[in-house]
Amino acid sequence: MMPKILLIEDNEMNRDMLSRRLQRRGYRVVTAQDGEQGHLLARSESPDLILMDISLPAMDGWELTRRLKASDSTRHIPIIVLTAHALVTDRAKAFEAGCDDYDTKPIEFERLSEKIESLLAEKKPS
């Protein structure tokens, strides 16, 4: 069975576009519109990977990442954060918060899918 990706993104177009492109690659995709919904789905759907925008309503990406990484049930799920702010500090912040990888918007789909692939590959043996 193909890996399941939880996509948390508040922008409707981006959410739609990304989920369709991921599905085209064969991934199963679950989407959430805000941090709280994402938090619930992360626990109920047990996805193989989480792709989240950093500026989310209800609960921002940093906070959500911290919560997910603090909980035993979700700690193992790799997280890739997406941010529009291409600041060095954002990258650092992302790793500090516990993210496994980081990418900037606009999405370079090829690059993103490489990251997804490598994180999933890394996860499998363990």
Binding site: R24, T89, R91, P106, E110
Partner: protein
């Protein structure tokens, strides 16, 4: 009373009195003594002549042993009041006849027997012996004793007269001297009075009056000259003092004025900074707002292209690619503007990593392929053997080279573009030199001047013909500067261009600068992340008041302040809590601040903790020599201290951030590295 401390007046009078009295007493006494001696002599002669007469008169009576006649003769002496005894001795020495006027004489006071002729003074009496002779034969001896009454009366009387005379003349001398002493004492007393007025009232206009042309007169003249000299100098001094006061007031005014100007400048600076921050925040926001729809445009067009490719609808594919390409061009423009605004806002930080230069160059050239192919150019890369690894911001180095190379491709048609990479030296520092040479249209000297400025493409027509924002070189230039390198150009129109970039092989991070560059947005969050470990400030000062004030001030700024009263405690606490910053006093008992600083800097665990000297000692050179980061002189400018500590906080957070990134496992780092490269490739 001590004679020496007597007033001049008293002394003068005393001297006059003593002198005159002594002279008078001496002369009177000598006169008196002379008179009394001669009077006594007279009395002696008189008594002797009397003895002669009585002897003569009583000679017959003695010869005939007529005692009654002899006694009668003696009795004639009653007229002489001073005769107290008259005795006639027989030649054998026995008393023959005697006479005692008052019957008071006692036989025992008389000489037992007759003696030689002559006189003598015996027991206050004058005694005379005289032989009584008759026809040359000694018939007896007469003895007369006188109490010299006249003499003693005279002596007493004369003494009294002399005494009275001395007294009177003394009084007279007193009278005269009390008048005459003024000749001397008056000018002196006047002088003294004048001096007192000068010394108590500090009134140098006082002048002493000169009475006579004697020594005192000259003294007063001298005194007056001295006074006028002092007065002259005093006036000059006063004038100088007044001038100084005026000047000080002027300076104070100047200082106030300058302070005001400074404050205004500071306000203006803050306003400008605020404006700049607002601008960059706006740009960052805008770029986010622009990127979001672009994200959708590029994403959907890519997706559509894939779908059309899969379904074989080739006719739409070209149009979709155009949408994509236009979208990506727009994206690169936005990225350039954002980069520049970040640089201008000081938010562009250096992200140092060690990387293989040739790998990076290969990657970059691969990314460049579409641009190379577009104008049918040939690219030659020459990599010197000695170029290995370098430590720099790889993304920025790649961006610089990509910019130069893509420019070269853009402005060269069917030509050759060469990239030479070699080891070099710049100002004694090991450097990597990148040289990009093309055979393109070239750049005129005038155009070269503005080449690295923002929005200054060589010609307005160029942007129409070749596209681009004209920001590429400006950004490259800034990046090179950030890494403390150098970029230069050599070109002639029609003969191609050569761009040369020197970058240090080991770029170092200027901590404070990096902190500033890193910007507020990210660091604040980062610092709050590390708050518990970062926000301790150690205050080492022996003054409890300073410790208290600093602690309160630091708490207000949101730091945990701990204080040490001496160097040893300070060192111990520094090891225990490894504070963010240490503030250090110099003058302390036992272990002074210099010593503490030396110890701090020689301990590898403590050496990296920034030390801010906070002291009254003005010896910055010493402080910096020993490794202090900053130097503040008491009284401390709190704002400055706050700024310094804040800087150290951000510096530390950014270095922690960097450390975190680099402490990630190597495998992951490699995964992240191609990120920017791919951005470039696709743009």
């Amino acid at each position: 009373m001590n004679l020496q401390n007597l007033s001049i007046k008293g002394k003068l009078m005393l001297i006059t009195m003593l002198t005159s009295s002594a002279a008078l007493v001496l002369s009177s006494a000598s006169f008196l003594i002379y008179d009394l001696i001669s009077f006594r002599h007279l009395l002696t002669l008189d008594l002797m002549s009397q003895a002669q007469i009585i002897g003569y008169n009583s000679a017959a009576a003695m010869a005939f042993r007529d005692e009654a006649a002899a006694t009668a003769t003696l009795s004639a002496l009653t007229a002489k009041e001073d005769i107290v005894a008259a005795v006639l001795y027989s030649p054998d020495g026995t008393i023959f006849a005697h006479y005692f006027p008052n019957g008071s004489a006692h036989p025992s006071t008389l000489p037992g027997r007759s003696q030689e002729n002559g006189y003598r003074f015996e027991g206050g009496y004058l005694e005379v012996f005289r032989d009584v002779t008759l026809n040359g034969e000694r018939v007896g001896t007469l003895f007369l004793q006188s109490d010299q009454r006249q003499w003693s009366v005279r002596a007493r009387r004369y003494s009294a007269i002399v005494g009275i005379f001395v007294l009177i003349s003394g009084l007279f001398a007193l009278l005269v001297s009390s008048q005459l002493q003024r000749l001397i004492s008056r000018p002196i007393l006047h002088l003294e009075n004048a001096m007192r007025m000068v010394s108590t009232n500090k009134n140098y206009e006082v002048r002493a009056t000169r009475f006579y042309s004697d020594e005192i007169g000259r003294l007063i003249d001298g005194f007056n000259t001295m006074l006028s000299e002092i007065q002259h100098r005093d006036t000059a001094l006063q004038r100088a003092n007044d001038e100084l006061k005026t000047r000080t007031r002027e300076l104070e005014g100047e200082i106030i004025h300058r302070k005001q100007t400074q404050e205004e400048l500071l306000k203006a600076k803050h306003a400008a900074e605020d404006a700049s921050r607002a601008k960059s925040a706006f740009l960052a926001n805008m770029s986010h707002e622009l990127r979001t729809p672009l994200n959708a445009i590029i994403g959907y067009s890519e997706m559509l292209e894939e779908e059309t490719r899969d379904s074989g609808k080739v006719e739409n594919q070209q149009d979709l690619r155009k949408i994509q390409s236009a979208g990506k061009h727009l994206l690169s423009l936005i990225n350039d503007v954002l980069d520049l605004s970040k640089i201008e806002a000081g938010k562009m930080g250096l992200h140092l990593e060690t990387f293989d230069v040739s790998l990076m160059v290969d990657e970059m050239v691969t990314t460049l392929q579409p641009a190379i192919a577009k104008n049918a150019n040939e690219v030659r890369v020459r990599m010197a053997d000695d170029v290995g690894m370098m430590r720099a911001d790889a993304t920025k180095v790649r961006q610089i080279l990509f910019n130069l190379m893509s420019n070269a491709c853009k402005f060269t048609d069917h030509g050759t573009i060469s990239l030479d990479v070699s080891q070099s030296a710049m100002e004694g520092q090991e450097c990597i030199r990148f040289r990009v040479k093309d055979t393109g249209i070239g750049i005129s000297a005038k155009q070269q001047e503005k080449l690295f400025q923002e929005f200054s493409q060589a010609d307005a027509t160029i942007s129409r013909k070749y596209g681009g924002t004209g920001l590429g070189l400006a950004i490259s230039h800034r990046f090179v500067q950030m890494m403390k390198g150098r970029i230069s150009v050599e070109s002639k129109p029609g003969q191609g261009s050569t761009f040369t970039v020197y970058l240090p092989a080991q770029v170092t991070l200027d901590t404070v600068e990096a902190a500033q560059l890193d910007g507020a947005g990210g660091t604040q969050a980062a610092s709050s992340q590390h708050k518990s470990e970062l926000d301790t400030v150690l205050v080492i000062d022996d003054d409890p008041a300073v410790r208290d004030l600093m602690s309160r001030f630091l708490s207000k700024l949101g730091f945990r302040a701990i204080a040490a009263a001496d160097g040893d405690e300070g060192l111990r606490l520094a090891r225990e809590v490894s504070p963010l910053v240490i503030t250090l006093d110099v003058i302390m008992p036992e272990c002074d601040g210099w010593e503490v600083l030396r110890k701090l800097k020689s301990d590898p665990r403590l050496a990296q903790i920034p030390v801010i000297m906070v002291t009254v000692v003005d010896n910055q050179a010493m402080g910096f020599d020993l490794g202090a980061s900053n130097y503040l002189i008491k009284p401390v400018d709190r704002d400055r201290l706050a700024v310094l500590i804040e800087k150290h906080r951000t510096a530390r957070s950014s270095s922690v951030t960097e450390a975190n990134v680099h402490s990630r496992p190597a495998a992951k780092k490699e995964e992240r590295q191609p990120v920017e490269a791919e951005v470039s490739r696709r743009s």
